[in-house]
């Protein structure tokens, strides 16, 4: 263990710091705030990310969208800063800032010259507990969110299909709600709702601060203690226990027709295991399965069969991200060439999946994928922000630093047998939603 003189002098309970290949140190302040420091001294730049363990899947029924709405409101004022002054201050320092919300977390970040970290921490600590909101600011920002939903969801048939499929995928778990929220619930969110949400969820014992770049662990810890250390923890933070899924007994099918569709496609999602602390092998197998089936646009199983051999698809893909608190999804996708119908494209996709379950893994393709996984740990060090994101996301969903650091080795050690077992388990249509995106059938009658 590395001595943490600063911490000791301040009477802190410090866990760690644990050290890794990419120079990662971790600390926990007395008030429960976790600090992760990733060193990269190549350029005088630093990124701070503050991750809260609160997301769309933690919202109260009827309040869909409040986690994301609140993310916007965090850029309003505090007792010390006027509305908009947060971003203006970052920008005046030559930095950039932004935020994002998912089902499991809400994260805020700034990228600045390394000597401005002090100010960034001061401002993030300020808005963690001292936000102020006027009725007018809330009303205007709600309008912005309505515009955001219009731009990102309602203007995009593919996004609408994903939203419908998500709702059908989860019978009981709140992952079925869109992160941005349902429009009728967004428009009903009030200032009181926002303040109640804030007081319940924004506190040091619900936050992870990741600092990546040109800073030493000791310096970062000292700053964190100065700014975050005095904040009172909240007594209302409890482990996340969301409604879970009952057995899925029946395949679901969604057809979304929209006149704005030009290239119809079929997409299917299957309920799938997520990464869990100390238990990531199945998720690793699913990660490699997605790569094998549809990761590479030229050499994957789908590309070879659907695009090259059968010539039925323009594009195909498979995707899986198991970094979540609760069960995730495994996706497959095929966009047929113009003269192939969706039903035929789906049949071809199913035939290729069945063929894979019989034939097994191509060992050469698996070896290439593992080579790329190994290389990605080298290329990844070129991007400190990417590392900050990787650690922050993992910690926000309940994984540990050790889980993150074990992950590449677990991927390397996954066997063909484990991948096939994962495939056999996940490809169960009773737990799947199949979506068709298409243009409406031509209307026979002349219009009035």
């Amino acid at each position: 263990m590395r001595p943490s003189l600063v911490a000791l002098a301040l009477g802190l309970a410090c866990a760690g710091p644990a050290r890794a290949a990419e120079e990662v140190s971790t600390f926990t302040l007395k008030n429960g705030l976790e600090l992760v420091v990733i060193e990269d001294h190549r350029a005088p730049v630093v990124t701070q990310m503050v991750w809260y363990r609160i997301g769309a899947a933690d919202e109260a029924p009827g309040h869909s969208g409040i986690a994301h709405f609140f993310e916007h409101l965090m850029f309003q004022g505090t007792d010390d800063l006027a509305p908009g002054e947060f971003s203006a201050t970052v920008e005046a320092q030559g930095g950039n800032d932004n935020a994002f919300t998912s089902w499991d977390y809400t994260a805020y970040f700034q990228r600045v010259a390394a000597d401005r970290l002090d100010l960034m921490m001061q401002m993030e600590a300020d808005r963690m507990r001292d936000l102020t909101l006027s009725e007018q600011d809330v009303a205007t920002e709600r309008q912005v969110i309505v515009e955001e939903r219009g731009q990102r969801t309602d203007s995009d048939p593919g996004a609408l299909l994903r939203e419908q499929m998500g709702a059908a995928q989860y019978l009981n778990h709140p992952y079925g709600r869109p992160v941005i929220g349902w429009l009728h619930e967004i428009t009903a969110l009030s200032r009181d709702d926002a303040l109640a949400f804030y007081r319940a969820n924004y506190a040091p014992n619900n936050a992870i601060v990741v600092v990546a770049g040109d800073v030493t662990p000791d310096a970062a810890l000292k700053l964190a203690e100065t700014h975050y250390g005095p904040l009172e923890p909240s007594a209302s933070i409890t482990p996340r226990a969301r409604p879970s899924e009952p057995p899925h007994l029946s395949e679901r099918r969604i057809v979304l027709q929209d006149e704005r569709v030009s290239e119809p496609y079929v997409v299917r999602s299957y309920l799938a295991t997520e990464r869990n602390p100390g238990d990531q092998r199945k998720a690793a197998a699913l990660t490699l399965l997605a790569e094998l089936l549809g990761g590479n646009p030229t050499t994957s199983v789908f590309a070879r069969e659907l695009q090259f051999n059968r010539g039925v698809a323009t594009w195909s893909a498979a995707f899986y991200d198991g970094t979540s608190v609760d069960p995730a999804t495994f996706g497959v996708y095929v966009m047929p060439v113009p003269d192939v119908a969706l039903a035929d494209a789906e049949a071809a996709l199913d035939a290729v999946i069945d063929g894979f379950l019989k034939d097994g893994v191509d060992p050469e393709e698996l070896a290439r994928i593992k080579t790329q996984v190994r290389a990605s740990t080298i290329y990844g060090r070129d991007n400190a922000e990417g590392l900050a994101n990787m650690y922050g996301q993992a910690l926000a969903v309940g994984l540990t630093v050790k889980d993150v650091q074990d992950w590449p080795d677990i991927l390397q050690s996954v066997t063909e047998e484990e991948i096939m077992a994962a495939a056999t388990e996940v490809f169960d249509k009773r737990r799947a939603v199949t979506g068709w995106l298409q243009t409406p059938a031509p209307v026979k009658e002349a219009k009035e």
């Binding site: 190549r42 350029a43 005088p44 730049v45 916007h72 850029f75 509305p83 908009g84 971003s87 203006a88 920008e91 005046a92 320092q93 030559g94 930095g95 950039n96 932004n98 935020a99 919300t101 990228r111 600045v112 010259a113 009303a139 205007t140 920002e141 709600r142 309008q143 912005v144 309505v146 515009e147 955001e148 219009g150 731009q151 990102r152 309602d154 203007s155 704005r260 030009s262 290239e263 030229t298 050499t299 070879r304 695009q307 090259f308 323009t314 594009w315 966009m335 050469e364 070896a367 290439r368 080579t371 790329q372 290389a375 990605s376 080298i378 290329y379 060090r381 070129d382 991007n383 400190a384």
Partner: protein, 435 residues
Amino acid sequence: MILRIALFLVALATPLRAEIAIQEVTSPGGIKAWLVEDHNIPFMALELRFRGGTSLDQPGKRGAINLMAATLEEGAGEMDAQGFAAARDGLAAKIGFGAGSDEISVSAQTLTENRDTTMGLLHLALTAPRFDQDAVERVKGQVLAGLRAEEQDPSAIAARLARARAYGDQPYGSSGDGTIEGVTSLTRDDVLAAWQGAMAQDRLYVAAAGDISAAELGLLLDKLLSDLPATGWPMPPKAALDEKPGVVVQAFPGPQSVVLFGHGGIGFDDPDFFAASLLNDILGGGRFSSRLMQEVREKRGLTYGIGTGLASRDLSAEWVGQFQASNDKVAEAIKVVRDEWARMASEGVTEQELATAKTYMTGAYPLRFDGNGPIASILVGMQMLGLSSDYPKTRNDKVNAVTMQDIRRVAARLLKPENLSFVVVGEPAGVVATE
């Protein structure tokens, strides 16, 4: 997520200077390159640019250069498309090709342990691409799917309309991807001709960053690039911009309209470029605190995001902007844009605004040089702009030298609210089209 608008890569900058040591390298065979050597991580990023890009498409062959660039990775030498991909991935190398309106870009990253093999593979792709008939047809199908999708995408429809209005039959007047009809008729011979015409040494720019020495880079470049043809197609002439002030509306179903707007701009080589950059930053650059973000989004809630940028390209320069808004809010948003444009043209900016914009631009600049990939890309871009390799050391001084008098003069010179052209795609309420 809150939208961050990055319309164009306009040079941005801290009291910090970009402490970056750029070496100018000339290979034994005479190929020039810029290098930032950094041995911290055992890999190298290499960036190549061929000036001209899709603007070199020959008459009747629009889309050929884009199709060619997209097919370069589909097999070379003895390897077909799958063989090439397997070889590249087995080396954990990254090789990408792209075609823009002013340049063809080649981006490669390789682990040091695999550098020679990876460069051998890239050499094959550049000098012995197969362009197999089935590969050309397959990639053509992907390009066509993209073009059909664009016909149903209001942003793409607006971009096409704006281009055509501004430039007509000139290269900038149409998408470099081509049209459905045009791409359908392209042949393998067109692709071959595009390769020979657009990727020659007389238009080549090279930069590298990472784990390689200047001597090693020189030897590498000779092997990689000296087999390219010495010369290619002549460069296209400068484009004439037809401003067409007014409002044009094209109907498209949906809850929102896409709005593009703009008029003539300023070339990067113009002495007033930095004053214009500061003006743009204050008006609608990438910051939440820009005037347009404050007036249109923060005060009125009319949009999720609005931004402007100086589109200073090789053949023409424009000052452009864009936003999306609900159909019943478009008219008001357009009025606010016009008002802000006029206000800045007549009043300029405040001293406080100028000071803040300078701090932002000078502060943001060094933050861009953060990694081998970004550095190689910035270095090759600087060469294409004709900058010297000590530019990062002097650039912030040029920003700081801009005075309030410069700002007022350049605002009056460039901002012409009466010349603004708005292209609206959607079903906007209360927007009066002028044509």
